[in-house]
């Protein structure tokens, strides 16, 4: 489309001189863009923080013992049912974990892998008993999965001997501090004593009920021959399910569970949140486009006399149409620029006055670009109606009807 100079000359003058109307349209588009920007930045930020809370300081893939296998209740030929026998085999350990561990460590997608020995424990302190989840880890690998580098509140990340890194809520409830010793009983009743060498805040309630021990000490304390799981972190959390699927094809004796599979509800909620925000954004855009179409449509009718003489003087049908298309396009561009600025101001103000610090705004380029592109497209499409009107007008009908 070659735009001839007079088209922009006239279009811009129409916009400039129809000041009230232009300002109204610009404000309309700007508010629309700002709302879209704000919504997507807010929801994006919220989703990021929810996902971060879920996977930020947690494993992405769990390598677990296979599901319980059904076993026959019949003992043999003509024999009766053995009522003492449970109807499935209980395998709560990954015995040949070294093989998986070595393999996982070799995968480029995997950033950390750690065998863990998990089990329930009961801390007895000052007459109170607190149930905790014990987790034996390799100090270095585990620190990478649970991000001790940034989550450690006090103490160190080293584990060994009787040292323990306790979750924040355990420390709070039992008033444990660095150097404190505590007594733990396992589910079979055996007890042992550990020393707090670190306190960690993992952000989520469940995670903060963990007590980390060294892998060797946990295995012997919990009576495990193998490990109860291997926990894995990958570079891109959203690739976890794909990586898990690949691992499933490789190994069939163990189970690979991604965080996505464990958090279906969260992901569904996020998806429907995105969906509803999309619907809101669509209708905002739709309403703005209608507004532009009607205002520019009225302008085209108001200016039909001028358009008539312009056409007599040599403006052809395309030129007349483009005078209005350029107006729509310019309104879209101008409104988008103002709208993004406005959106940024609204978002910052929102964070300042209502923000709890729990989550921030997601200020990605896409949050700027998408509403802007949509607004420009919407206002251009909206100006097609007045453009057609201007294009169809003949100079004669104006001259004839005065």
């Amino acid at each position: 489309m070659i735009v001839r100079p007079y088209e922009t000359h006239i279009a811009f003058r129409f916009l400039l001189k129809g000041r009230g109307q232009t300002v109204l349209l610009l404000v309309g588009i700007a508010v629309g863009v700002a709302v879209q920007f704000f919504l997507s930045a807010l929801i994006g930020g919220l989703q990021l923080s929810l996902i971060e809370r879920t996977v930020g300081s947690a494993p992405h893939i769990f390598v677990l013992p296979p599901d319980d296998l059904p076993t026959s209740l019949l003992l043999g030929d003509g024999q009766a049912v053995d009522s003492r026998r449970v109807p499935y085999s209980e395998l709560t350990e990954v015995l040949s974990w070294q093989q998986y561990y070595d393999f996982l460590k070799g995968l480029p997608a995997v950033t950390a892998a750690c065998p863990v020995a998990g089990g329930q424990g009961f801390i007895e302190r000052g007459g109170a008993t607190e149930t905790v989840a014990l987790k034996g880890i390799l100090a270095e690998e585990g620190a990478r999965i649970y991000r001790f580098d940034r989550n450690l509140r006090s103490g160190g990340a080293e584990l060994g001997g009787d040292s323990a890194i306790v979750g924040l809520s355990v420390a709070d409830k039992l008033r444990l501090d660095l150097g404190d010793r505590f007594f733990v009983r396992n589910s079979k009743g055996a007890g042992d004593t550990f020393t707090v060498t670190g306190i960690v805040d993992l952000g989520a309630v469940q995670a903060n009920a963990l007590v980390f021990l060294s892998l060797d000490r946990a295995r012997s304390f919990l009576g495990l021959d193998g490990v109860s799981a291997i926990e894995v972190r990958v570079g891109d959390p959203f690739q976890a399910e794909a990586v898990a699927a690949g691992l499933r094809r490789e190994f069939s004796r163990v189970k690979f569970e991604s965080w996505q599979a464990r958090n279906q509800e969260l992901l569904t909620a996020l998806r429907s949140q995105s969906g509803s925000s999309g619907v809101i954004q669509f209708f905002v855009l739709f309403a703005i486009s209608l507004g532009i179409a009607s205002v520019l449509g009225i302008a085209a009718v108001q200016k039909s006399r001028q358009l008539g003489i312009l056409k007599a003087m040599g403006v052809d049908d395309r030129g007349a149409a483009r005078i209005f298309l350029i107006q729509g396009l310019s309104l879209g561009v101008g409104g988008s620029i103002v709208g993004i600025g406005l959106g940024y101001v609204i978002s910052s103000a929102f964070l300042r006055f209502f923000g709890t610090g729990a989550f921030g705004l997601k200020l990605d380029a896409i949050n700027f670009v998408v509403p802007a592109v949509l607004a420009v497209a919407g206002s251009s499409i909206a100006s097609v109606i007045p453009a057609r009107k201007a294009s169809r007008l003949t100079p004669i009908e104006v001259i004839r009807n005065g």
Binding site: R13, G314, T394, R400
Partner: protein
């Protein structure tokens, strides 16, 4: 003088359901450099004739040649560039663009045809304004100047591209008599100075008598056609008063052919 516009067998019908024929096979020509007044009662087809020869409206049938180029067929949108370069328009209403100043309005035809006007064209526009005593209002907007001034701006706008032909439809119809007379004087003076052809529709006989030639249409046919200078003003006035038709020998298409 050669004809700049030649029309043969011009027919114009309006309406599809109940067609009304406004022009019934008109043969007419306009001389280069002359001022021709087209008069006639309302409904006689004079404005329709003007619209067709000024390439604003397509004829139902007939042949139109303007300055040696055939414009008989095709839609008027295709003639936009030609109108811009060679034809000037002055209508009863000025139709100035209210968003532009007087000077900017005069420059609009140049914008349309050739883009941003260079200094020489701006100077030409200012020269036209000076000749029509409009320099003081050059930066005023149409709603800030009088009706007579608005129409003078429209005249300057019609002339700025130095067109071959100017078409005027009741150019003073919207002005009071005194202002109208002054505007008309300026218009005819400018057009004569530039040697431009003028075809002007008017219902006012006194205005018509200022032209070189008068053409009267009645019911879509030529009723009168003569040259004012040849007949003299008094005789011309009498001819106009006369109810009978009179076509001067020189304009008789049968004799011309």
């Amino acid at each position: 003088m050669a004809d700049i516009i030649a029309v043969r067998g011009l027919v114009k019908r309006f309406g599809d359901v109940v067609p009304t024929e406004v022009l019934h096979g008109l043969d007419v020509s306009f001389e280069r450099g002359a001022l021709t007044a087209v008069i006639g009662p309302s409904g006689s087809g004079k404005t329709t004739l003007l619209n067709i020869v000024s390439l604003l409206e397509s004829p139902t049938s007939g042949e139109i040649v303007v300055d040696g180029r055939d414009f008989s067929a095709g839609d008027i949108n295709r003639y936009a560039a030609y109108r811009n370069a060679h034809i000037g328009f002055i209508f009863q209403f000025h139709y100035l663009l209210p968003e532009f100043t007087a000077l900017e309005n005069i420059l609009i035809p140049h914008w349309i045809g050739r883009g941003r006007p260079p200094g020489a064209v701006v100077d030409r526009a200012l020269g036209l304004m000076r000749d029509m005593s409009m320099l003081p209002i050059k930066d005023k907007y149409p709603n800030q100047i009088s009706g007579g001034e608005q129409q003078r701006v429209a005249i300057a706008r019609a002339l700025v591209q130095e067109p071959k032909i100017v078409f005027a439809d009741e150019p003073t119809g919207n002005l009071d008599r005194e202002t109208g007379s002054a505007v008309l004087a300026i218009m005819t003076r400018m057009i004569r100075e530039l040697g431009t052809t003028l075809v002007m529709v008017t219902h006012d006989r006194e205005i018509a008598l200022r032209a070189d030639r008068i053409l009267e249409l009645v019911d879509g046919r030529i009723c009168k056609s003569f040259r004012v200078a040849e007949k003299g003003l008094a005789a011309s006035r009498e001819l106009l008063e006369d109810r009978d038709c009179f076509v001067d020998g020189a304009d008789d298409p049968a004799r011309k052919a």
